[in-house]
């Protein structure tokens, strides 16, 4: 019954690869090469992304998924501690649920 939707739906590995690509575009390949990006990587501590880089990252998600995903809205519902602890796996899950 969900054949049409499922063709467009990405699995977690695909979302992870796409997120990695976005992160590379935002912070630059030379930095990413030195990092081991995993779903446990936290945005602020491990990836050392600052807020303007997270803005760029959010814009890429918006451009890719359109209205399907309110990524900025989701981020803005978090308090500072939650944002600091945000990791890639949480984002992958969120995107997966929204699809």
């Amino acid at each position: 019954m969900d054949t049409v939707a499922s063709t467009a739906k990405m699995n977690n590995d695909e979302i992870f690869d796409l997120m990695k690509q976005f992160i590379t575009e935002v912070i630059g390949e030379e930095f990413v090469e030195e990092m081991d990006i995993t779903p446990e990587s936290s945005f602020t501590k491990d990836l050392e992304m600052d807020s303007i880089e997270i803005v760029s990252f959010s814009e890429k998600i918006k451009a890719h998924f359109g209205d399907q995903i309110d990524f900025t809205g989701w981020l803005s519902s978090m308090d500072l501690d939650q944002l600091i602890n945000l990791n890639l796996g949480m984002i992958i899950n969120y995107i997966h649920e929204c699809q």
């Binding site: 912070i27 930095f31 602020t44 501590k45 050392e48 600052d50 807020s51 303007i52 997270i54 803005v55 760029s56 959010s58 814009e59 900025t72 809205g73 981020l75 803005s76 500072l80 501690d81 944002l83 600091i84």
Partner: protein, 253 residues
């Protein structure tokens, strides 16, 4: 990433809710960028308003430039941005140095503005505020980052420290920002400020070093209201939802 040309330079902007009839324009502070609004304050305002944020020159993702950090140049840029985006009149909010730009805008182009929200604008004659610029060093940056920036809760890693270090080095040693700021030291003592006739909301942290400046401005600007917010100079980071709601209510009524 939306980049537009303003006075021949690339300027990074972000817009929300373009369909709304009234526009709110947000100006960030020095050594910061539009992300100070992007995640919380802007989405609150976008429930009713078209919201425009932009990165000041050499900040965030806008193009670097060597000159023009005085308030005249900064308001020339803002005027040109409004022309480019076809914005006739806006509600204007500015934080810290952005608050000074907003005040200058109200003096130079009052016809372009509706209401004014000033968040933690410092007194430019304050030696301490300007002293930051004289005492810059790597140690200073580490101290500054630990105490005064929006990353207070996160220990900065190596890449971020380098990135920030490069930005400060550029702004302090290669641009005219130092001299341009010193030249603005009489901005508040100039009686011109008293001629501002816009309805003005003054938001200052109850524990902020700038609170006295807030009181001073509330006396100088006739139709202004000073409202304390729990926190220090960093209230947009400490109380983003409260600040967003206060500005929203003020612009709506």
């Amino acid at each position: 990433m939306p980049i537009i040309k303003i006075n021949n330079r690339d300027v990074h902007i972000q817009e929300l809710n373009k369909e709304a009839t009234e526009t709110v324009l947000l100006i960030h502070g020095m050594f910061s960028n539009l992300s100070v609004y992007y995640f919380n304050i802007a989405p609150i305002l976008a429930e009713h308003f078209h919201v425009v944020m932009y990165d000041l020159k050499s900040h965030g993702m806008s193009e670097r430039t060597l000159h023009g950090y005085d308030l005249n140049s900064m308001t020339d840029d803002l005027y040109a941005l409004m022309e480019t985006l076809d914005l006739n009149t806006v509600h204007l909010a500015g934080y810290s140095f952005g608050g000074l730009i907003a005040l200058k805008m109200a003096l130079r182009f009052p016809e372009k503005l509706k209401k004014l929200a000033i968040i933690e604008a410092p007194d430019p004659s304050d030696e301490k505020a300007r002293g930051i610029i004289d005492d810059y060093s790597r140690e200073f940056l580490e101290h500054y980052v630990e105490n005064f920036t929006d990353t207070t809760k996160v220990k900065m890693g190596k890449r971020q420290m380098e990135r920030n270090h490069r930005m400060y080095e550029f702004l302090f040693y290669q641009t005219s920002i130092k001299n341009d700021m010193v030249a603005e030291k009489d901005f508040f003592s100039d009686s011109e400020i008293t001629t501002i006739n816009k309805e003005t909301l003054l938001l200052y942290g109850s524990d902020s070093n700038c609170m006295e400046t807030g009181k001073q401005l509330s006396k100088m600007i006739k139709s202004s209201e000073l409202m304390p917010v729990p926190g220090d100079h960093n209230i947009p980071i400490q109380e983003p939802v409260l600040v967003g709601n206060m500005i929203n209510t003020f612009f709506m009524n």
